[in-house]
Subunit: 318 residues, 2 copies
């Protein structure tokens, strides 16, 4: 029997899961609402039942492990800890709970680490040993790979670049502090930047007719493509602060590439071009022209499942 | 015959070298002026002759390797590259030049990486796998260890935390940029902070009678210990910005400890206490109370030789 793993991405709203073979082919996948399970025990039953169903339809495969991406997940302990966006409070021993239902190796880490592992095993970083993935969505997540290994750190929570302070005394962050990288360089950060520019600029723009709570980074990127002056400036300011945070990351680990993934990265060259220009101008001399800024090599549609699957494939190969 | 290695620290002014056994005992050491050798070929002859003399006086030992700490050194390539503080211009293939004279393994890296390796092999980080050493001297050097391995990065120049931007548009740095960490959090940075405070404050202080070019971090620490108001405030401001840069490093790699080494670290609790207080208040929630701020476990007097020796001992044990 051929080996297969399950990749699981637990989000605040939805959980996506799928079976992935050694080459990164998603054999089948499914989804259910995370919010349907206020108790983690019931969630674990639903998830393991769902995985068993997929396996029953793929009888030539044997399950070798389960990889899980989840918010506030700790790789060392196999836990989800104090996740503000999930109903399960305190410290949830997720890996242990799952192993009691299906006795295979289970690894848990945050979704950005899973994305980075997906990039390394199945995506654009296949031949790289030093790179960073930034996921630019509601927040800014990061997965850091150094010398071919994911950085988990002493606590298991390493790679929280979204909480580097980039503007001392700046925007309020969900973490209770101010000026964190993710309050500027994320899909949400771009929307906040537009609000600020609407206060500073007098230009006419359709952006004044959209309630901030309905505004998306996609809409802003569309308007920037049509040369809307506020949208263009918002995109450029976001790119500059993204470049600033990237340089502060480069002096740390000197990666070969930075991959940008997630909603904001969909803006494409409108974002990438000014980021590269900022780096060219402002990077530390020893690092100049040493780092590629790249779009993710993993498709957004099955990236979460692939990344989580890559986590466990990587562990199984050790 | 027992094995011994040579540890060499090449500074802009002096070169220090010594023989170090596997337990970190410095058997004998010596020094000469780096500036006496404007040509690197002559430097290599002087250095290898000096090491041979030490070996001749320690006949029961066999040389197993040479570890070298030097400015702008590249571990991957064994080179010193465009070092502004050395007479040897361009790319100097130091490891290869030395191997031609003494055919043993030779490794080269920057002095802060050597300090970190010394900490791991012989100092306070013996049982740690994730830590950072900050050397607070004329500049701010850093050596980063993740999962038991020194971080060299794709280029071999990783760990340049002194060139994180901590104050956008701030103080001019020797690298040509502004607001770099080392322009504030170093012995030199403390002296610059005093000059700024002398412009802002009206307090009487002996600091007004010392030419800035003669002022040292040691003198400022002495005055701070006597509660000189300008010196105390300079020490606190330096500690805060040091704490700020430390937090931005912690969210990256989540280390178990940060070791402070070098001239400014000699200020002891006057520096460490406000740094710890800053972290307690401002650290990212997932990292709170997870990081120890520690003095180096290596003595300043033979730290450079020990660190460089540790580099090659570590490679020989692989």
């Amino acid at each position: 029997m051929k080996k297969v793993v399950a990749g699981v991405d637990i989000g605040g709203t939805n959980t996506v899961y799928g079976l992935v073979d050694e080459k990164g082919k998603v054999l089948s996948q499914g989804t259910f609402k995370t919010t349907d399970y206020p108790k983690v025990e019931n969630f674990v039953i639903a998830l393991t039942d769902a995985i068993r169903k997929l396996l029953a339809a793929n009888k030539e495969y044997r399950l070798a492990g389960i990889g899980i991406g989840a918010p506030d997940a700790n790789y060392h302990r196999g836990t989800i800890e104090h996740a503000p966006n999930l109903a399960w409070k305190g410290i949830v021993p997720l890996a242990d709970l799952i192993k009691k239902k299906i006795n295979v190796p289970v690894v848990v880490t945050n979704d950005a680490n899973a994305a980075a592992m997906g990039e390394m095993i199945f995506g654009g970083a296949k031949k790289m040993k030093d790179f960073i993935v930034l996921t630019l969505g509601t927040g800014l997540g990061s997965g850091i790979v150094i010398d071919g290994k994911m950085v988990y750190g002493h606590t298991g929570f390493a790679g929280e670049l979204g909480h580097m302070t980039v503007v001392p005394g700046g925007r309020e962050c969900g973490c209770g502090r101010k000026g964190c990288f993710e309050t500027y360089a994320s899909a949400t950060g771009l929307v906040r930047t537009v609000q600020n520019l609407l206060s500073e600029m007098r230009d006419e723009t359709p952006l004044r007719d959209i309630p901030p709570s309905k505004l998306t980074s996609k809409k802003i990127a569309e308007l920037a493509a049509k040369k809307d002056p506020v949208a263009v400036r918002a995109m450029n300011e976001t790119a500059e602060i993204l470049g600033f945070g990237i340089i502060n990351s480069i002096v740390f680990s000197s990666p070969e590439a930075i991959f940008l993934f997630g909603g904001l990265a969909q803006a494409g060259e409108m974002l990438f071009k000014p980021v590269r220009a900022y780096l060219e101008k402002n990077n530390y001399v020893l690092m100049k022209n040493t780092v590629k800024i790249l779009p993710s090599g993993i498709s957004e549609s099955n990236g979460a499942v692939l990344g989580s699957a890559a986590l466990i494939w990587n562990d199984l190969k050790k």
